[in-house]
Amino acid sequence: MKLKVKDLSFSYGSANTLEDITMELDKGEIVSLVGPNGAGKSTLIKCIDRILKPQKGTVFVDGKEAARLSSKDFSKMMGYVPQSTLEVFPYTVFDIVLMGRRPHIGWRVTSNDVKVVARTLRFMGIEEFASRYFDELSGGEKQKIAMARALAQEPKVLLLDEPTSNLDIKHQLEVMNIVKKLVQERKISAVMAMHDLNLASRFSDNMVMLKDKGVFTVGDPESVLTPANIENVYGVRAEVRNGHMGRPYVMPIEPL
């Protein structure tokens, strides 16, 4: 599935939050959206997923205009993982992941739905939680369950809003490994809003750096994560070193 965003603008009222965003995503690719707080990373993710309605511009999914698809068809293509999930009422993990089947089911749950959920839990390595209640789990486990719910939709594109920002380093790596494995094994694509430049560098094929509501630069991690770009976008003096697997490793020094 190819995803293309063209000239997208969005505002929450008077001030524009996003202006003329254009970006592309190929099948089987992980793209990170990076940029300082308020640059519009989460907003862009929500606009792509039609959670927010952009005032201008178009999202194309495989050449088709996303806004013209029915909400059911569209939700079979895109899965969304929020930054954090709060369940007010007690649901079991199985029930929560089953909600991801919503675009596919009528009233009755078919045995295929149950199998998809079971397989997803297994894939995420959380099958032992199936009958536990969601509110008893830790932040990292909750994040995996939110991902499992999005996967149960069987989407072609996975949208993740800061998937690692509330997690410890082990869960951060686990979650990122799952995204990588998904993209490789199921040939889906992923768009992630990321705060952690080093995780983004290590796990993304391409990065989109946002600044002042617009796209500052696009490219592979080596070309995006340069001291000059980081200084310009974040206002931070940084050194960029050679990190794990030859990926750039950003060492922030001081704010300017």
């Binding site: 039609r50 969304y80 007010v88 009422f89 007690p90 199985f94 909600m99 009233w107 397989r119 939110a146």
Partner: protein
């Protein structure tokens, strides 16, 4: 992955679903059993045989049933029992749906101002004799119904102006509730002795006004709206994870919200217009169910309705027999029976009974 494990998950899910279905059936059975038992309870002592005979005599040419038994069971007890059941169902279902759609465990027809609205409408009819659709026998009922729905419309309208935030909606409901209470207080203050008494009775709520002519209209209406609301079970499940997730699962959140709120407002208004304010059931029935079977709305909506029916039926039977021939207002008894039970569940956190 081996097939065994996949099928295992399927079996676990099937077992969990079966337990919830069983729970629903047990509740249904209990409501029916208590209803049958309740026909024999009351000021006039009638045995099971006499009560059944009276009911059967309506349909079959059964020999020798006293007209006294027939009048007591058919004209007095049966409509009242049915009224208790449908009122309980309405309040339980509406409570479950409102809490689900607004993602807030404190919401009930009471917190959203619907009850106060209805009471205000009733008080206007009682004290000023003014009805929205003229006067007549049903002036209080029609006023209460209309004001209750009007409250929902105002509360929703206010929240729409601020971009439909759930918090605004709940706060607007609470605020409207206070406003209506102030109007009621004013009306009480200016009313005469008889009217004051009538308002107080209405505010306490009760099923003593149950008549066949009302019950016969309410039963199909309540069942119809309940079924309609149950169709939104999956949407309500998805919405519990938040608007954004629900929207990404293909749900039109605003549309589902207004449909569910309107339907549950009609459901609530149509019963409280007849019974007056019966608090507590709409708030607590859904919680009791969640503690017992979890929050899947496919089971939660019907079970919450049945728990409501059971609690109200038991309470009403108790309040018309405890100090017969007089009775205690049912709202008082529901709280006496329901609150300790609910607190017990809350403290002991027994929801894992069912797992």
């Amino acid at each position: 992955m081996s097939d065994d494990e996949v099928f295992d998950a399927e079996e676990v899910y099937a077992r969990a679903s079966w337990k919830k279905t069983l729970f629903t059936l047990v509740l249904l059975g209990s409501v029916l059993a208590v209803a049958v038992f309740a026909t024999t309870m009351g000021a006039a002592s009638l045995g099971m045989g006499e009560s059944f005979g009276a009911v059967l005599a309506e349909f079959l040419p059964v020999e020798e049933v006293s007209t006294f038994a027939q009048v007591v069971v058919l004209q007095l007890r049966l409509p009242r029992i049915l009224m208790a059941i449908i009122t309980g169902i309405s309040l339980g279902v509406a409570g479950a749906v409102m809490q689900g759609v607004l993602r807030n465990p404190l919401v009930s027809p009471y917190t959203l101002g619907l009850s106060s609205g209805a009471a205000c409408g009733a008080a206007i009819a009682i004290v000023l004799g003014v009805g929205v659709f003229g006067t007549g026998r049903y002036i209080i009922v029609i006023n209460a119904f209309f004001f209750s729905l009007l409250t929902m419309a105002i509360v929703y309208g206010i929240s729409r102006m601020r971009g439909t935030s759930v918090e605004t909606l709940i706060l607007a409901g609470v605020a409207m509730g206070y406003l209506f209470s102030a109007v009621i207080s004013l009306l009480k203050y200016v009313s005469g002795h008889e009217e004051l008494r009538e308002i107080v009775f209405w505010l306490m709520g009760g099923l003593y006004t149950a008549r066949w002519e009302n019950v016969i209209i309410l039963i199909p209406a309540v069942l119809f709206f309940t079924m309609l609301l149950m169709r939104y079970s999956w949407d309500l499940n998805a919405m519990s994870a938040g608007e954004e997730v629900a929207s990404s699962l293909g749900i039109n959140v605003n549309r589902v919200r207004i449909i569910c709120l309107s339907l549950s407002a009609v459901l609530t208004a149509s019963v409280i217009a007849f019974t007056g304010i019966i608090g507590f059931i709409g708030l607590v029935s859904p919680h009791v169910c969640r503690l017992l079977i979890g929050s899947d709305h496919r089971y939660l909506i019907p079970c919450s309705g049945l728990i409501g029916a059971l609690v109200l039926l038991v309470s009403d039977t108790a309040c018309r027999t405890m100090i017969s021939p007089t009775e205690i207002p049912v709202g008082i008894v529901t709280s006496f029976i329901g609150v300790p039970f609910f607190l017990y569940l809350l403290v002991s956190r027994k929801r894992r009974w069912w797992q």
